[in-house]
């Protein structure tokens, strides 16, 4: 039944997928409870610009995706902090701007269109050993930072004013969360694609929130839901011959709908 597990490309992709499925709601929790869910979508679109340039120049697309996404995350946070533009408008600026750049790159360098489409919708067969090292490195970094700043991130998410009075450096920690989100979005692109990766950060979190648990319990449940949805999506994609990214996201949405109905009266 599990003959697919014999293939190295599938093992690599599954391992990378599990790491991304753990990280996405881990950071997504801080994004969702701060009413900042649209951030993940904007960052993933900017990461696609880096991926496109990587494909054109034959330089690691995942690395450039991370670099572009992190730079965009920092710029969005700076714009937000200095109140030059509204948050939603800043996100829209980066989202539409990155789509515009990608469309121009496709028009000028048409040859990489097929490769780019695998980054738009995800393609597990494109995960290389090199990508896996990047994903593992970022996984370790994010886990260490979240563990180290757990209470500060929680205070910041609950109330920025209260966090500041408690001695939390609000500006730098907000920036740190955005940078971590940028990296997680960029590494998730290969698994579910740039158009869907944002949903990995948001849907498992809003699913777990339906159970009305405390912060830590909601956080852990979101990770469990995300990993479970990844497994279901991966195998459904293989046996039903459908795209992996789409299968994972549809599974996540199904779990959300079940949780919504199950907890309707809560």
């Amino acid at each position: 039944m599990l003959e697919i597990l014999q293939y190295q490309f599938f093992q690599r992709a599954l391992f990378a997928g599990i790491l991304v499925a753990i990280l996405s709601p881990l950071i997504g929790m801080y994004v969702v409870v701060r009413r900042y869910s649209a951030l993940s979508d904007s960052l993933s679109h900017v990461a696609l610009v880096g991926v496109a340039i990587g494909l054109i120049t034959s330089f690691s697309p995942i690395f450039l995706g991370i670099v572009f996404s992190v730079i965009a995350g920092i710029l969005i946070e700076l714009l937000r902090s200095y109140k030059k533009v509204y948050t939603e408008a800043a996100l829209m600026l980066f989202l539409s701007g990155s789509i515009a750049v990608v469309s121009i790159l496709i028009s000028v360098f048409g040859g990489f269109r097929v490769s780019l489409s695998s980054f738009l919708f995800g393609s597990i067969s494109t995960v290389t050993n090199n990508d896996l090292y990047w994903i593992l490195g970022i996984f370790s970094l994010v886990i260490i930072i979240v563990a180290g700043f757990y209470n500060s991130f929680l205070q910041l998410s609950f109330s920025e004013d209260l966090a500041k009075i408690s001695g939390v450096n609000v500006f730098w920690l907000r920036l740190l969360i955005t940078v971590l989100a940028s990296m997680v979005v960029a590494i998730g692109i290969q698994i579910v694609g740039g158009l869907l990766v944002g949903s990995l950060m948001v849907i498992p979190v809003i699913t777990s929130l339906q159970y009305k648990l405390g912060f830590k319990a909601s956080h852990m449940l979101a990770v469990v839901i995300s990993v479970f949805a990844l497994f279901v999506g991966f195998f459904a994609a293989y046996y039903l011959n459908i795209p992996t990214g789409g299968a994972i996201v549809i599974t996540n949405i199904t779990f959300f709908l079940i949780s919504l109905v199950f907890n309707w009266r809560k």
Binding site: V33, G167, L213, G214
Partner: protein
């Protein structure tokens, strides 16, 4: 005696609008200060300046003898805001999680001991594992006080914490603050527009308006008034 809070020539402008002008006052250890003023008089602005959330246009603030710009000892300062309606109604957090997120091991070496202690002081031991969203307004404010006490602060700022809380809970809350001030020696600065209650409770009243700050001796607690700054 050195003041615990010292404000000299403090002014603040929002753009071109003058909100606070040339405020001068001191607060001493163990005092229970009522900070009153009409709506828009700048009470909350003053509190935000004292808490370093806003920066003064001019003037100087010292907390615990240290210039606010260099002040790092925030675990000695507690702050209880107005009811955080948005967070309190939606944020997925238990009472113990909210309190312990503010925990700093400088005050208590043992986290569990710190939690147990503040839950006991605030008389909310039975709420430890409840979600904030499931609590009444009065209970939430006790939780916010417990949160601010977890690091054993010397100074507690409260910004109209009883607005939106029913009368019975308000009375219990004021009694609780008396205990904190008298039994535990915590200096309290209570921002309020409820003149009747605050004049009964505070040892000194600071009345704020756009022209400055005036101090009123509190006749109910006159024996406590020893440090009125002129």
């Amino acid at each position: 005696m050195n003041p615990i809070v010292s404000v000299t020539h403090l002014s603040f402008f929002y753009g071109q609008n003058q909100v606070l002008y040339d405020l001068n006052f001191d607060i001493f250890e163990g005092e229970y200060i009522g900070l009153i003023g009409a709506n828009g008089s700048g009470k909350t602005t003053l509190l935000y300046l004292l808490l370093n959330i806003l920066q003064p246009t001019s003037g100087n603030i010292k907390l615990l003898g240290c210039d606010l710009k260099k002040f790092k000892d925030w675990q000695n300062i507690g702050y209880v805001p107005q009811i955080l309606a948005d967070q309190s109604n939606t944020f997925p957090i238990t009472v113990s999680e909210l309190i312990l997120a503010n925990y700093n091991q400088k005050a208590y070496k043992n986290q569990k001991e710190a939690l147990k202690n503040v839950l006991q002081i605030a008389d909310i031991e039975d709420l430890e594992n409840r979600l904030i969203t499931s609590l009444s307004g009065g209970q939430r404010q006790r939780v916010m006080i417990a949160r601010s006490l977890v690091n054993n602060p010397k100074l507690l700022f409260l910004d109209e914490p009883t607005s939106g809380v029913d009368n019975n809970s308000q009375n219990n809350f004021y009694t609780f603050l008396d205990t904190l001030n008298q039994k535990f020696g915590i200096t309290i600065v209570f921002v309020s527009h409820d003149l009747d209650t605050i004049t009964k409770k505070a040892s000194r009243i600071l009345c704020i308006d756009h022209f400055g700050i005036t101090e009123q001796k509190n006749h109910v607690h006159q024996s406590k008034i020893t440090h009125v700054h002129q």
